[in-house]
Amino acid sequence: MNNNRIVNVLLIIIMILVVIACIIGYMYFTQEKVEIDNTEAIFTLENYPRIDGSTATLPLAEAFKADFTGTNLEEVEVNHSKTHNAYVNLINGDTDLILVTYPSEDEQKLAKESGVELEIVPIVKEAFVFLVNKDNPVEDLTLEQIQEIYTGEIKNWKEVGGENSKILAYQRPENSGSQSGMLSLVMQGKEMMEPITENVISGMTEIIDVISDYDNSKEAIGYSYYYYATTMYTSDTIKLLGVNGVKPTYDNIKNGLYNIQTAYYAVIRKDEPQDSDVRKLVNAMISERGQNVAKEAGYVQND
């Protein structure tokens, strides 16, 4: 009898616990999730290294500085002088660390001539993407089709499964980051056709001929880096094309399935002491905490 009573009590306790667990579970899964940042600052604003870089990495640099110094993002001040100037500043010793794309031949040459050895550490992944109007029925192209569109061999969307309309293949200005990426990552030695150009009024009356900007018309195709494409275009007006059957999504870029890739790098001088704040900052950037900060700021984490 006693045993029976104990079993009854135990079973009632179990039932009560199940009900309580269900209530807690319900409350947890239906409430708004509030993230609590309980990470500690690893720098002060005073000892945080001098940072420079490209415009594309400005939000990343701000996010890192805010997180690593425990400062509100709105209060953080970071100035980036654009890629080439950032390299010049690093080589001249006017900054400690730069967040940039891989150095061009000119920048490598400049470093060599100045006797500065550069240490280049990938921080976040970046992909090269192709964009079309969201109403374009084409979802995916092969790398070969893209090359043939830009050499001028494929001229109509119906040749790649789209509507019967001329392809307006927009290019980027010579020497710009996207054009360099297009030549090295996509065209791989194949010669691009003449770009579409446009007359623009400079000053009051003078007219100049410039490379046309991607206009997002239904016949248009353009290219850019993932960061630019997802931040500089009104998101519900464009569509990023898959390449060889893989869409350039965050996950596909992160796990390497979408393989037209490059990166944004932290570049420092190689003679930077091992125990310096600069190296400490690089390590923080590639740490799990740093990578989470990068993801929060809209960049693709490194593996």
Binding site: M15, V18, Y26, T30, T55, I207, D236
Partner: protein
């Protein structure tokens, strides 16, 4: 109820499984409900906005508002300020608020860079009205200060002040666009072409080219980044373009004609009640996306109605005082002619009348006698046609001509319909003695 322990345990297990299933279903239902509520609220809000606010009708017309804009000048220490004050609003609270803000801004805008006037030679501030139409006002404000007489170093900056006259509140950059406008795309494209145009340089061969494109994407990205951070706040507009200041003194212009479906400034600030004390101050029935640069005109008359179009302007470049007497006489003649045309138009509703003249008054010299003269150059004509012909053939010519120039151009607003009507604008010269007003035949 349960006789055996086994039955009790089975009951508790079934009870627990049921609890978990019910909880899971509740969680799924609740989350879907929350999402749906958010989506519905967002959609309803957007639909209401989109229904109300349309883009620009390219064949439409607009009215300037009935606000008087008076130019004022103020000098304090080394600061010379040229600014405006408005009057003519029924609501004096709004009028006073706007005037107070304009004045304070004009008097203090240079302080963003110049903390101590001892560091500059002088400061010149210029506040100009760039738009007054459809219950809105826009002003550009700029200042310029030389650091010292021996240096080219200057402080300068540009700002914008934009008002909704129905509330007296400032207009934001987003308010310029319809709710469905792809603002980033518009800004990006305008910035791209604007920055390239600014980068163009003359080569030794005399060609204007852009030599260095390398930074263009980063500069455009910087512009968009500033927008996303809410830092593109300085802008002003006219009926054809929006000018945005970024990065201290750099400007980008958005040409409204490139994005008519997405520009809301013509349609957003409508009011159910008449806001103005008078209804005859501003120009009426102007074509959308056209500006009228009539500040330089001594006399300007524009009337665009159902079956007549009148546009007459007089520019007086002569310093001679007698010229004014002659111009006043001229204006009387013009106004008599206008009344005649309006009477004809009323009597003949199927006929369209155009009266279009430009008179340029200047001082000149008789080459033979070296005698000083006042010269009246008159160019223009009057035309008659059917209302249908005007709408189909002539109106597009006027529209295109008005849209094809920049704000700064000084125009005579004389239209050439010779190709269509085989009648060219007539050009006549008249000379007058500068002291007696006697007509001189040369």
């Amino acid at each position: 109820m349960f006789k055996t322990t086994k039955a009790k345990i089975i009951f508790v297990i079934i009870f627990s499984i049921l609890c978990i299933i019910i909880t899971t279903l509740c969680i799924i239902y609740k989350n879907i409900e929350i999402e749906e509520e958010n989506v519905i609220e967002e959609n309803v809000e957007n639909l209401i906005k989109e229904e109300n606010i349309k883009g620009i009708d390219l064949t439409g017309k607009y009215n300037q508002n009935d606000i008087f804009i008076e130019e004022k000048k103020a000098t304090k220490e080394k600061v010379e300020v040229s600014y405006c004050q408005i009057s003519g609003l029924k609501n004096k609270t709004i009028e006073n608020k706007i005037n107070r803000e304009i004045e304070q801004f004009a008097l203090n805008c240079y302080k963003d860079q110049i903390k101590d006037l001892n560091n500059v030679v002088n400061v010149s501030v210029n506040l100009e009205n760039t738009a007054n139409f459809e219950n809105t006002l826009s002003f550009s404000v700029s200042y310029f200060a030389k650091v010292n007489d021996n240096s080219d170093d200057v402080y300068q900056n540009v700002f914008g002040l934009n008002y909704d006259l129905t509330t007296g509140e400032k207009i934001t950059l987003e308010n310029m666009f319809t709710p469905n406008a792809p603002i980033e795309n518009i800004l990006r494209s305008s910035a791209y072409y604007g920055i390239l145009a600014n980068k163009a340089e003359l080569t030794l061969a005399g060609d204007l080219v852009v030599e260095d494109y390398s930074d263009i994407e980063e500069e455009v990205a910087e512009f968009i980044y500033l927008y996303k951070m809410g830092e593109l706040t300085e802008f002003y507009y006219n009926p054809a373009s929006i000018t945005i200041r970024y990065d201290m003194n750099k400007i980008i212009e958005i040409k409204m004609v490139d994005y008519p479906d997405y520009i809301a400034i013509y349609n957003r600030y409508v009011a159910d009640v008449d806001l103005y004390e008078e209804d005859s101050v501003g120009l009426k029935n102007l074509y959308t996306l056209t500006t009228k640069n009539v500040d330089y005109a001594t006399y300007y008359n524009y009337q665009n109605e159902k079956n007549y179009y009148i546009e007459i302007n007089i520019v007086n470049e002569s310093k001679n005082s007698y010229a004014e007497t002659l111009i006043n006489q001229k204006i009387k003649d013009i106004e008599a002619e206008i009344e005649k045309v309006k009477k004809l138009a009323k009597e003949n509703e199927n006929t369209f009348y155009i009266l279009n003249y430009y008179t340029y008054v200047s001082s000149t010299q008789n080459k033979e006698t070296n005698e000083n003269l006042i010269c009246f150059l008159e160019k223009g004509n009057s035309y008659e046609m059917t209302v249908h012909d005007f709408e189909v053939s002539i109106e597009p010519v006027i529209l295109e001509y008005n849209r094809s120039f920049e704000m700064m151009d000084i125009l005579d607003y004389v239209y050439d319909f010779e190709n269509l009507l085989k009648i060219a604008p007539q050009e006549t010269y008249e000379y007058y003695h500068p002291e007696t007003g006697e007509k001189i035949v040369i």
